[in-house]
């Protein structure tokens, strides 16, 4: 099989994971104008929870659901309990706060489960498939990854576009004061938004772990990729997050495949700087930001 095609297909599957994390960052940014640097660490923590539940019950899907549920709780608690208090302060303080959460999570998780590298189960085989004797460089797990992230994307689209709850959430994020005057429970919706975002992040954590293994800072690089994907998409657009994630997946797959896997993160950095220099508002946002 053609090496280029192999890299393309694996890149697309990885890109869906980056898209899920980018989506989490975008949802948080839309809701509260904060970039949650703890998003990767939160996903790491929920994946450890999934592993614990899996080991207890022996059923992958119990762990899967537990991780998503834990993600919702962690996200909601972080917003209501901590981030709420700095939302109106200088943006720097909110960023430092999420970094504090990152440090705490990356320290507390190894306290509970140890710092050693662990393998993580996949619900489907992560080995490449053979169809009618022909080798295809896509695993059933890759297909599951693509399917489940697309499903989440569509579900969110439906939520935001076609439900009253989604309309209130958009209103709360877009014009909190006016929304509040019109009777929208803005605070509650922001908490809900963070919870939802962290569910998407938890999904990314679950999808990364089978191939990348699980350890306390296994999501650091994924956070950089997800952030770059989100910026590529404009930081404000879920569709942008999907396209940005796929673009990152492809780009990093080619960088890793042709230049060496150690350069993937540096490559992501180069892409990020290039985007920000050329089109700082991202590829999918048309509203002009404040320029000085």
């Amino acid at each position: 099989m053609n090496y280029f095609l192999v890299l393309t297909l694996t890149g697309l599957a990885a890109g869906m994971i980056y898209a899920a994390l980018a989506l989490a960052l975008v949802l948080v940014w839309r809701a509260t104008r904060v970039v949650n640097f703890a998003q990767g660490a939160m996903a790491m923590a929920t994946t450890y929870i999934a592993l614990a539940v899996f080991q207890l019950t022996g059923n992958y899907w119990f762990g899967f659901v537990a991780a998503l549920a834990a993600g919702f709780v962690i996200g909601a608690v972080a917003e209501r309990g901590i981030v709420r208090w700095v939302e109106n302060g200088p943006p720097l303080n909110a960023v430092i706060l999420t970094l504090g959460l990152l440090l705490i999570l990356e320290a507390v998780v190894p306290m509970i489960w140890g710092a050693q590298i662990r393998s993580f189960p996949a619900p489907f085989s992560i080995a490449a498939m053979q169809v009618g004797g022909v080798f295809i460089p896509v695993s059933p797990f890759n297909i599951f990854t693509i399917g489940v992230v697309l499903l989440v994307m569509v579900a969110l689209l439906v939520l935001f576009r076609f439900t009253g709850l989604g309309l209130s959430m958009r209103a709360a994020a877009f014009a909190p004061e006016i929304a509040r005057l019109l009777g929208v429970r803005v605070g509650r919706l922001l908490t809900f938004g963070w919870g939802l975002a962290t569910v998407a992040g938890a999904l990314a954590g679950l999808l990364v772990a089978p191939t990348l293994l699980l350890y306390p800072n296994n999501m650091d690089a994924i956070l950089v990729y997800g952030f770059t994907a989100a910026v590529l998409g404009g930081l404000d657009s879920p569709i942008g997050a999907l396209v940005g994630g796929l673009a990152m997946g492809l780009a990093l797959s080619f960088i890793g495949g042709y230049l060496g896997p150690d350069l993937e993160t540096a490559g992501a950095l180069a892409i990020l700087i290039a985007i920000l220099m050329v089109r700082p508002q991202g590829l999918f946002v048309h509203a002009a930001e404040r320029r000085v």
């Binding site: 440090l103 990356e106 306290m111 710092a115 956070l223 952030f227 540096a266 220099m277 000085v292």
Partner: protein, 350 residues
């Protein structure tokens, strides 16, 4: 702002304070050595943490740019030191440190030029990429940088005339020189036009631009200045640990630097020293407390980081001015009590 007339005395005063502090610290190092070489070694660590934190506090506290990549910039300084010393092991440390500073400054120009177009979270994200990605570069080009194992750096040895001085003490003495120089330079610089421009931009970029300050250029200057400090600190780190390795510059190092300036008080140079002391000594102190309490090793190893993370959260919620802010408040409180009646605001809020 005070008039021009106060600049000269400030320069003199800063130099005197720096010199006095340096001599005092050098004496202290010499006095504690026979009893505790490890403590002396830790003081060298305080030196490089303080230098890097001082640079970061000017960037983050005064200019309002958040960098998560200063650990990686320290890595550039350390690797420069290792590579320069590879061929010439007995090169003068002053020369080597200058080279590390210059190389890191050049790297900072590239990052800073991108940074000047980035606002808040974008800059933090880009520098996060730097912190996570740079160790990989060192691994990839292992023929130059030594891969995962890193490149060793020859230990500093005192000259023959001072052969009675222990190597740890000599290292600490050498470390104090760039520390004092950095602090004196920065203390003076933040009082010049550039320092005021930094602060003006932090407060309001639009207003600063209207006032004729070239925002982008000034931000690059701030980033390069602070990157140069990180490079110098990295060089000292390489001398202290005798090694430049990718594992020495994880994201956690950048976060520790941030912890140092948050704990000490954002934007204050003395705060950088307090923060460096806390970041170096608290993990050790937790270790010694643990000898009595016997926590599991997994908990003990991670406790300092959890603690610093908690400090980020608590500091941002309750004490945004850190240790130095608290000290200043105490000092003013005392001064205003003494004057009795002349009320003075406790501390300027930003």
């Amino acid at each position: 702002m005070k008039g021009l007339g106060s600049v000269r005395p400030a320069l003199l005063r800063h130099s005197m304070v720096g010199l006095g502090f340096g001599l005092g610290a050098a004496l202290a190092v010499w006095a504690i050595d026979p009893y505790n070489p490890f403590l002396v070694y830790q003081l060298s660590s305080v030196c490089y943490f303080a230098i890097a934190a001082a640079g970061l506090t000017v960037l983050t506290g005064l200019n309002g740019q958040l960098s998560l990549g200063h650990g990686a910039l320290m890595g550039i300084g350390a690797y420069t030191t290792a590579v320069v010393l590879k061929g010439h092991t007995d090169l003068n440390p002053a020369l080597v440190m200058s080279a590390a500073t210059v190389v890191t400054s050049v790297a900072s120009i590239i990052v800073g030029a991108a940074a000047a177009r980035l606002r808040g979270p974008y800059l933090a994200g880009a520098t996060l990429g730097l912190a996570v990605g740079l160790p990989g570069v060192a691994v990839r080009f292992s023929n130059i940088f030594g891969g995962d194992a890193g490149t060793s750096v020859p230990a500093l040895t005192p000259p023959d005339a001072l052969s009675s001085v222990a190597p740890e003490v000599w290292l600490a003495w050498i470390g104090l020189v760039p520390t004092v120089v950095t602090f004196v330079v920065l203390a003076n610089l933040v009082r010049t036009r550039y320092g005021r421009d930094f602060r003006a931009i932090r407060e309001d970029e639009v207003a600063a631009a209207l006032y004729g300050i070239r925002v982008a250029r000034t931000q690059v200057v701030a980033f390069v200045l602070s990157g140069a400090c990180a490079g110098l600190a990295g060089s000292l780190l390489a001398y202290t640990s005798n090694l430049a390795a990718p594992g020495s510059f994880p994201l956690t190092l950048s976060l520790l630097l941030l912890a140092a300036i948050v704990i000490g008080g954002l934007g204050t140079l003395p705060g950088a020293v307090w923060g460096a002391l806390v970041v170096v000594f608290v993990p050790d102190w937790i270790g010694s407390v643990n000898d009595a309490v016997h926590l599991p090793s997994a908990v003990r190893d991670q406790l300092p980081l959890a603690l610093f993370g908690g400090v980020f959260v608590v500091a941002m919620l309750a004490f945004p001015h850190g240790i130095q802010g608290g000290l200043v408040r105490l000092w003013r409180l005392r001064a205003s009590r003494r004057k009795a009646g002349t009320s003075e605001p406790a501390i300027g809020t930003t």
